[in-house]
């Protein structure tokens, strides 16, 4: 009997080594653990064993059975693993094949920059007002303290629809509309399209400006620079500084041109800043008392600061665009480069 078990154990080990499919697994089970399998056979043969030897022999057979079952379970687990691996191999894809998708579009770079500027100033408490693009002479010029005979009224610069109807040449007219409907404190941005009859490599007959206006008590030129410092640091780089220098706009006095230290070279001088270390970004100044008076605001009580940003200019600086025409060509290969991160 023991001889027999020993032979069977050897047989089992041989068979296990050969099992490599479900079918062979089943055969294995049948030949050892099945109803007519070797173990059943051994159990039957137990009757022939001497009575006093039976319990011991029964235990030996049973141990053998447990051993076979263990072996079978290990085998079965290994088989499942093998099969899963095989299936995974079958199902594997070439991950470098092209994706199936509808590409997502993007906002126009001018919109991205406009929103970015608005975000910065919103945080400072600025409202956003959008005035009409078709204006009258009063809002676009007269009440902004542009004298009747000022060169900027000339036909060369302004598109006229009728005698008193024109396409706004600046968003500054928005100042007037805001101050007509709201009294100080005022903090407002006026973004929008503006139009001038200029068209060449550096000019488009339509472009975008963003006017900013603060009117309150005790507002000074120092506030203009302090506020713009915050703005350019958020927009460009925490290290940039502003520089004011004298300029002229009819609706501000004093008027200033605002330069930022070059964010490309840190002020050392490079091609972007034309080796001056500074880049001109916007104009501004202290609101002219005539403009406040024209809107029924007492300049002896209130004062204001105003600034005007050319959105195209900032956009071109920010993205390194060297030709304003690209912004209006709307070539998809150009537009698709501007994604919001």
């Amino acid at each position: 009997m023991e001889q027999r078990i020993k032979a069977l154990r050897e047989q089992m080990e041989q068979q296990i080594a050969q099992v490599n499919s479900k079918e062979k697994m089943a055969n294995f089970w049948q030949s050892f653990l099945g109803k007519k399998g070797s173990i059943a056979e051994l159990m039957k043969g137990l009757g022939t064993v001497a009575k006093e030897d039976r319990p011991a022999m029964g235990k030996v057979i049973n141990d053998f059975k447990v051993q076979v079952e263990e072996q079978y379970n290990i085998l079965s687990e290994r088989m499942e693993q093998l099969e899963l691996q095989a299936r995974n191999r079958r199902e594997a894809v070439d991950i470098t094949m092209p994706a199936v998708r509808r590409p997502v579009g993007g906002l126009h770079p001018l919109t991205l920059v406009k929103n970015e500027i608005i975000n910065v100033f919103s945080g400072m408490g600025f409202d956003v007002f959008e005035g009409p693009e078709i204006e009258d002479d009063d809002h676009n010029f007269t009440r902004l303290n542009v004298p009747k005979d000022h060169p900027s009224r000339d036909m060369q610069d302004t598109f006229y629809l009728e005698d008193d109807l024109l396409l706004r040449t600046q968003t500054s007219g928005g100042q007037i509309r805001v101050m007509d409907r709201q009294k100080p404190p005022i903090k407002v941005l006026v973004p929008g399209r503006v139009f001038r009859s200029d068209s060449d490599a550096t000019h488009s007959p339509m472009f975008h400006q963003m006017e900013g206006l603060v009117v309150d008590k005790g507002i000074t030129l120092c506030d203009l620079q302090g506020m713009l410092d915050q703005f350019v640091q958020q927009l460009f780089d925490a290290d940039v500084r502003t520089r004011l220098r004298p300029s002229y706009f009819p609706f501000t006095e004093p008027s200033v041109e605002v330069d930022v230290s070059c964010f490309e070279c840190g002020g050392k001088g490079c091609s972007l800043c034309k080796h001056t270390g500074w880049i001109e970004v916007l104009g501004g100044g202290v609101v002219h008392p005539h403009v406040l008076e024209n809107c029924g605001i007492d300049p002896s009580v209130y004062s204001g600061i105003a600034f005007g940003i050319g959105i195209e200019r900032i956009t071109m600086l920010k993205y390194g665009i060297n030709n304003i025409g690209l912004l209006f060509e709307n070539d998809l290969r150009f537009l698709e480069q501007f994604k919001e991160a």
Binding site: F121, D154, P205, T220, M227, L335
Partner: protein, 802 residues
């Protein structure tokens, strides 16, 4: 504005370098756009004295030994110039020298004879006759004998000079002259200004019968005339020719040069009439008669109208006021007596006439910016002084001064020191304020905080007191004194975009999410853009606002539709080889106001999709996604009457029964006219859409309320129907929804046409979702719903279950 450094030095004792002065000017508001160093390109060119000169037989060459002082007393240079002679002083470019235009000189043999450089002509140094007499003569430049060998040639011929090209802001017309800039230079350097001489003596002779009259004082508030006789027209002196040349003007003759000189120096445009050509010895300043003609000095003829101001003699225009003199009264070599004109003309009138006629000049450029009467007076006096200094005429007693009566003194006002500092936000010491204003020629009397100020007469830009003074003070005191403060006294406000502006941002983002790229197109286009879209003549979109002065006809009408702009962008992209894409823009269209009202600006959402993968339903999907985000359910209605869309593949977008927009495939007849390669497949897949943005938004949900979701699972049933070909999918779906309130969704999942169904019929299979309410749906409930649905479909649309 071109200002020579050397000319500035005639009025101000400048002790700083040109670069330092450039910085100073920049800081006080005068940006030097370009600082031109005249001899900047010249190096290692020195005075040479020819000590030996030997002709090389059989050639045109001379072997010279030259003395160049410290550079070598015996340098051999070969020249071909025939005017060389022993003892000549002439410029020599030595080995390694550079000349204007980047020319490099190196020692190299000429016809085998060693030569250590090149002797130069005036022109090789960039000189002309006005800059240096003799410069244009053929051959080597013959320098005076007293020039020292080895001296840098630039110091000898006046090329060690700079030209400041200064941009002058529109508020400072008083700085459109060398003197004007000199005033600023004197102020910023704290130096004294030496005024040009303006004295002259008048003879006791008068010109009989000479009369000057201004009939249009509104356009000519000041007119000075002064007669000069016994004129000798000749060459101008060297210093005058040089200064004119530095500013880019060619010398003509003494009298003409004086007018140009005064223009550049004082900023007053002058004119000189040949008095013998003035008919009736009269000058009348008046508006031109309709159709009146004038031929200007440059021999161009213009036909005038009463908008143009002219200077006339007894019979005809002799000058176009402020722009250019007439050919008929020009100064010539034969002129013996002349009439000087110095005037102030209204700047907007000069500008309009100049633009209307397309004629401009240095004079009109200055008049357009504005001339003060101080300048007018100074200019006349300077011109007369120069006549005397050049000894080229006798100044008669015939002087005329026509004035509209403007005061002859500077503006006076009072100002508060405290207010000046309040504007700036810093404390500028009172003494500093007074010092600065004095340097700028303001007369100031201080009484505590109060300043009594008289502005200089030429400062017509000064008007309101403290803000003007604040600007003057800070630009001299220095903007670096401004201490940035972050709105320290301003009220705290909340700020941000309005809900409506935020919603527009969201709509834009939804379009992006659908694959549309935002574009930015011009607000104006051409009527031919409407033609291309076959917009009928009587359509409302043809009622356009026209630009009176468009840049070109292509940009001449304000757009009433975005569709043409969208189509243009599609076509441009196709031309560039971008075969597919989606674009959109939310922008204004412009409609004329009714009954004198302001024009209306309406926001439209325009979009386009093109490329092989697009069809009506891909675009419809993006429209529905848009509605979904806004909480709107869009319906469609066949649009057969939109001129630019395919009548069978276009739909109106309906929102709560209102048409809010349209989209569809570009009409075949429009596609056929596009300037594109005919064989490109993409041409035939262009879809356009346009939505009245504000009308759409009016329907949008104001706020979101939570709707309870059923706790029980939905039941889904499929239903295949056979219907007549004409029966639309939409009609079936509507009927299914209407038949049973429990239906939450109907989806078409199969469409079949074929023999099994028969001609003129089609089979449509729908997936219907039933949403339970407060209890689960039993199969028999759903059976009942289906029965009801089938009954309705059969009755209303003749649909049979398949």
């Amino acid at each position: 504005m071109k200002v020579p450094f050397s000319w500035l030095k005639e009025y101000v004792d400048i002790q700083v370098t040109a670069e330092e002065l450039q910085e100073k000017l920049f800081s006080c508001g005068f940006e030097v756009e370009e600082l031109i160093h005249l001899g900047g390109e010249i190096s290692k060119v020195v005075v040479a004295e020819v000590t030996e000169c030997e002709k090389v037989e059989g050639t045109h060459l001379y072997i010279c030994q030259v003395n160049c002082g410290e550079y070598g007393e015996k340098i051999q240079i070969v020249t071909g110039a025939p005017n060389v002679y022993v003892g000549m002083h002439t410029p020599a470019a030595l080995d390694g020298a550079t000349l204007p235009g980047g020319v490099k000189i190196a020692a190299k043999p000429l016809k085998g004879i060693p030569s250590n450089g090149m002797m130069c002509s005036g022109e090789e140094l960039g000189l002309n006759e006005d800059l240096y007499p003799g410069a244009e003569e053929y051959g080597l430049l013959d320098l005076p004998a007293e020039t020292v060998p080895g001296t840098d040639i630039r110091d000898v011929v006046g090329l060690n000079d700079y030209i400041f090209d200064i941009s002058v802001t529109a508020n400072r017309p008083d700085c459109q002259s060398v003197l004007g800039i000199a005033r600023e230079v004197a102020a910023v350097l704290g130096c004294e200004l030496k005024m040009p001489a303006t004295d002259y003596t008048v003879s006791d002779v008068t010109v009989p019968d000479l009369e000057i009259r201004v009939d249009a004082p509104d356009l000519c508030p000041r007119y000075l005339g002064h007669a000069v006789r016994n004129i000798t027209v000749q060459e101008s002196p060297r210093w005058m020719r040089r200064n004119l040349a530095l500013c880019g003007l060619r010398s003509i003759s003494n009298v003409v040069d004086i007018t140009n000189y005064v223009l550049l120096e004082i900023g007053q445009p002058m004119h000189a009439f040949d008095m013998d050509q003035l008919q009736e010895r009269k000058i009348i300043v008046r508006r031109a008669k309709d159709g009146e003609k004038i031929q200007t000095l440059d021999e161009k003829e213009f036909t005038l109208n009463p908008e143009n101001l002219v200077i006339c003699d007894g019979n005809r225009p002799v000058a176009l006021a402020g722009i250019m003199g007439g050919l008929n009264s020009e100064i010539t070599e034969k002129t013996t007596q002349l009439l000087f004109e110095a005037a102030k003309f209204a700047r907007d009138n000069v500008r309009r006439t100049s633009r209307a006629l397309g004629q401009s000049s240095d004079s009109s450029a200055r008049f357009e910016k504005g001339i003060s009467e101080y300048t007018t007076e100074l200019g006349m006096a300077r011109a007369l002084h120069l006549i005397q200094e050049l000894k080229c005429g006798e100044i008669t007693a015939s002087a005329f001064d026509c004035s509209a009566g403007a005061p002859r003194e500077g503006k006076r006002f009072t100002a508060s020191l405290r207010r000046i500092n309040e504007i700036l936000g810093i404390e500028v010491p009172a003494e500093e304020v007074l010092k600065i204003l004095k340097r700028l020629n303001f007369e100031v009397i201080r009484d505590g905080d109060r300043l009594d100020v008289t502005a200089p007469r030429y400062r017509e830009d000064i008007e309101v007191g403290e803000p003007d003074l604040a600007e003057e003070v800070i630009r001299e005191y220095g903007y670096h004194h401004v201490v940035p403060t972050f709105l320290k006294s301003a009220t705290v406000t909340s700020g941000g975009k309005t809900p409506e502006q935020l919603r527009r941002d969201r709509v834009a983002r939804v379009m992006c999410a659908q694959g549309y790229n935002e574009v930015c197109t011009l607000s104006f286009y051409s009527e031919s853009d409407l033609d291309l879209l076959k917009i009928p003549e009587n359509a409302p979109e043809r009622n356009v606002l026209r630009i009176r002065n468009p840049i070109s006809v292509n940009l001449s009408v304000m757009r009433t539709l975005l569709a043409p702009s969208m189509l243009n962008i599609v076509v441009e992209n196709l031309k560039k080889g971008n075969h597919e894409g989606r674009i959109f823009e939310i922008s204004h269209v412009y409609l004329p106001g009714e009954n004198g009202q302001m024009p209306e600006e309406k926001l439209h959402l325009g979009f386009a999709a093109f490329g092989d993968e697009e069809d009506f339903f891909t675009v419809k999907g993006s429209v529905e996604a848009l509605g979904n985000v806004l909480g709107l359910r869009f319906a469609v209605e066949r649009a057969e009457d939109v001129s630019y869309l395919h009548p069978g593949i276009a739909a109106y977008i309906l929102c709560e029964g209102e048409r809010i927009g349209v989209f569809g495939k570009l009409a075949n007849e429009v596609t056929a006219e596009l300037k594109l390669h005919k064989d490109s497949k993409a041409n035939h897949k262009i879809f356009l859409g346009e939505i009245d943005y504000e009308r759409m938004i009016a329907h949008a949900a104001v706020s979101v309320r939570y709707q309870p979701v059923s706790a029980y699972p939905p039941v889904i049933r499929d239903l295949a129907l056979t219907v007549q070909e004409e029966t639309t999918c939409g009609a079936l779906m509507n009927e299914i929804i209407r038949a049973c309130p429990s239906v939450s969704q109907v989806e078409l999942f199969d469409l079949y046409r074929g023999e099994q169904i028969g001609e003129g019929k089609k089979s449509m299979a729908f997936k219907i979702t039933f949403m339970p309410g407060d209890k689960a749906l039993a199969p028999e409930d759903v059976d009942r719903f289906i029965k009801k649905i089938l009954g309705n479909l059969k009755f209303k649309l003749g649909a049979e279950i398949r």
